[in-house]
C-alpha cells in the first residue's frame, strides 16, 4: 500500500515536470505562426484537451462494457470517474475554441458541424453525470453503463464531422499527417504527452477517492447495523 502511494506521488511529480516542459515548449520553443500570430498557441492546449476528452469517453465506453459483462463495481467506478475528467477537458475545448475563434473568425461561436457536435458531446456526458445523481443506487450502475455505451456514438461523429460535412474548422490531421513545421509538431506532441500524464494522474486520484468513498459507505452501514443490534440487545 505504501509502495503504491509512493508510486502515485512520483507519478504526480513527473506530471508536474512534464507539464512545465510543455509550457516552456509552447511559449519559448514553438515559433509564432505567421498568419495568426500568438493566438495560434491556443492550439497547443485546445487539441490535446479534445484528444483527452475523446480518450476519457473511450475509457468510459470500455469500462461500461466490462461492467455489463462482469458486474464488478470497480468498472462502474472507472467509467464514472473517467466521464467526470472527460467533461472537464471537454469544457476546456468549448472555452478555448471560441477564444481562438473571436480574433480569427471574428465571431465567438458559429453553428459549424464540429462546434455543434462537440457541444452535443458535452451535454451528453453532463447528462450522464446528472443521471447518476438522480437515479436510485440499485439501478445507477446499469443505467450509467448503458448510457456510457450509447453516448460514445457521439465521439466518432464529433471527430469525423470535419470530414463528413462542410466546415470552417481547421483540419489538424490530414492524409499527409500533421501540416506544420517540425518545432510546432514537437511542441504539440510534447503537450499531448503532458496532458496524458495529467489525465492519468487525475484519473488515478479520482478512482482512489471514489473507492474510499464506497468503502466508507459500506463500513458506515455495517457499523450502524451493529449499533442498532447492540441497542436492541441492551
Amino acid at each position: 500500500m505504501k509502495r503504491l502511494q509512493t508510486l502515485s506521488i512520483a507519478f504526480q511529480v513527473l506530471t508536474y515536470v512534464v507539464m512545465l516542459f510543455a509550457l516552456y515548449a509552447i511559449f519559448l520553443y514553438a515559433p509564432v505562426e505567421k498568419t495568426m500570430g500568438v493566438i495560434q498557441k491556443i492550439f497547443y492546449i485546445h487539441v490535446p484537451s479534445a484528444f483527452l476528452a475523446y480518450l476519457a469517453f473511450l475509457v468510459t465506453f470500455i469500462a461500461s462494457i466490462l461492467y455489463l459483462i462482469r458486474r464488478e463495481t470497480r468498472w462502474d467506478t472507472v467509467a464514472h470517474c473517467s466521464v467526470e475528467i472527460g467533461v472537464v477537458f471537454c469544457t476546456i475545448v468549448l472555452i478555448t475554441g471560441p477564444i481562438w475563434a473571436k480574433p480569427i473568425w471574428n465571431v465567438w461561436w458559429t453553428w459549424d458541424p464540429r462546434l455543434t457536435t462537440t457541444l452535443i458531446l458535452w451535454f451528453t456526458y453532463v447528462a450522464y453525470l446528472t443521471l447518476r445523481r438522480s437515479v436510485k443506487e440499485n439501478r445507477r450502475a446499469n443505467l450509467s453503463a448503458v448510457f456510457g455505451i450509447i453516448g460514445f456514438i457521439n465521439v466518432p461523429i464529433t471527430f469525423f464531422s470535419i470530414r463528413l460535412w462542410r466546415t470552417i474548422h481547421p483540419v489538424v490531421i490530414t492524409g499527409q499527417g500533421l501540416n506544420m513545421s517540425r518545432p510546432m509538431k514537437f511542441t504539440l506532441m510534447w503537450t499531448m504527452v503532458a496532458f496524458c500524464f495529467l489525465f492519468f494522474a487525475l484519473l488515478v486520484s479520482r478512482i482512489q477517492i471514489e473507492r474510499l468513498k464506497l468503502f466508507i459507505e459500506e463500513v458506515t452501514d455495517i457499523m450502524e447495523d451493529m449499533i442498532s443490534k447492540n441497542s436492541e440487545r441492551n
Binding site: 495568426m36 500568438v38 476546456i92 478555448t96 481562438w100 463500513v219 458506515t220 451493529m226 447492540n230 441492551n234
Partner: protein, 53 residues
C-alpha cells in the same frame, strides 16, 4: 502581440478549470478523512460501552 489578451485568457481559464478540479478532489479527500475520523471515534466509543457491560 495585440491578440495576447486572448492567449492569456485561454491559458488562464484552462489552468483555473484544472486547478479548480484538483481543489475539488483535495476537498473530497479531506471530507473522507473526516468521515474516517468520525468512524474511528464511534467504534472506540462503542468498544468502551461494550467493555463497561
Amino acid at each position: 502581440m495585440d491578440n495576447g489578451i486572448y492567449l492569456f485568457a485561454a491559458f488562464g481559464i484552462t489552468w483555473t478549470i484544472i486547478f479548480a478540479y484538483v481543489f475539488k478532489l483535495f476537498r473530497d479527500q479531506r471530507a473522507l478523512g473526516e468521515q474516517i475520523d468520525h468512524i474511528k471515534t464511534t467504534i472506540r466509543r462503542n468498544i468502551r460501552i461494550d467493555g463497561g457491560d
